[in-house]
């Protein structure tokens, strides 16, 4: 699988591409649904989700793997979730990535100690002289 940075870019590109294709095919969906708005929405939704799943499977894009979901999901489940996110267009991908970022921040906060370690000086002047300086 591509690294996290390029995968994020690919997900957005895939979501945008599917969104554009659905927009281009809009008149066709109109025609096939006979003007029924609910039918049209269903058709467009199914089409974009299938396109998303195809792009996920062929492009090796796995959003759950990117999010380090534990336990590791089955590959087909990852493809379906990624496909649905891509099918939702850039908005769908954006929502999932925001959630992933939120979870990552939360995990980092948990990893930090609740109480700062007590500050201690070096035991001798000689050691203190060696330890001075600025560090971040």
């Amino acid at each position: 699988m591509a690294d996290a940075g390029s995968s994020t870019g690919l997900l957005f590109a895939a979501g945008f591409a599917v969104q554009r294709v659905v927009e281009i095919l809009d008149p066709l969906f109109d025609l096939l649904s006979g003007g029924d708005a609910r039918k049209k929405r269903l058709m467009a939704g199914l089409f974009s989700s299938l396109c998303g799943c195809a792009l996920s499977g062929l492009g090796n894009l796995r959003i759950l793997t990117m999010m380090n979901v534990t336990p590791a999901p089955a590959e087909w489940a990852d493809i379906v979730v990624t496909g649905l996110a891509i099918g939702g267009g850039t908005e769908g991908v954006n929502s999932l990535l925001k959630y992933a970022s939120y979870k990552k921040d939360q995990q980092q906060q948990i990893a930090q100690p609740a109480v700062a370690a007590p500050r201690r000086p070096p035991p001798t002047l000689e050691k203190a002289k060696e330890a001075t300086g600025a560090r971040s």
């Binding site: 500050r119 000086p121 070096p122 001798t124 203190a128 002289k129 001075t132 300086g133 560090r135 971040s136």
Partner: protein, 119 residues
């Protein structure tokens, strides 16, 4: 950063000032005994604290202090900050020890100093 300050035994009580440049934070200071061991907590403060007094000149000479300052900024970009330790006696600056440091966005840094007092 290590430095020394020449104290006038006949002068007033020396003082230490910790100046935070472009940042905020706090500090702690420990004093070593005459043998350069057994550090004991001596003073603590923040970036808005006033200078603190050291021991009387006769007692301060021959000893050293270790000061750690913890400074940070909340900017979203890298910022050049500094912490400067100043030793004063009777309004005269005996030692000025500036320590600049460039910090990444929203980060903290530790600055440490040793000052030895001589006569």
């Amino acid at each position: 950063m290590n430095g020394s300050a020449k104290v006038d035994p006949a002068g007033g009580v020396p003082q230490v000032e910790v100046r935070f440049g472009n940042c905020a934070g706090d500090f702690q200071c420990w004093m070593y005994d005459a043998a350069g061991a057994n550090p004991s907590a001596y003073a603590a403060g923040t970036s808005s604290s006033k200078p603190f007094d050291l021991l009387k000149p006769a007692d301060q000479v021959g000893r050293a202090l270790y000061l750690e300052a913890y400074a940070g900024h909340g900017a979203a970009t890298a910022v050049s900050i500094s912490v400067t330790l100043v030793v004063k006696q009777d309004g005269k600056e005996l030692a000025v020890m500036p320590q600049p440091h460039t910090l990444g966005p929203d980060r903290q840094a530790t600055f440490s100093f040793v000052v030895e007092f001589t006569k």
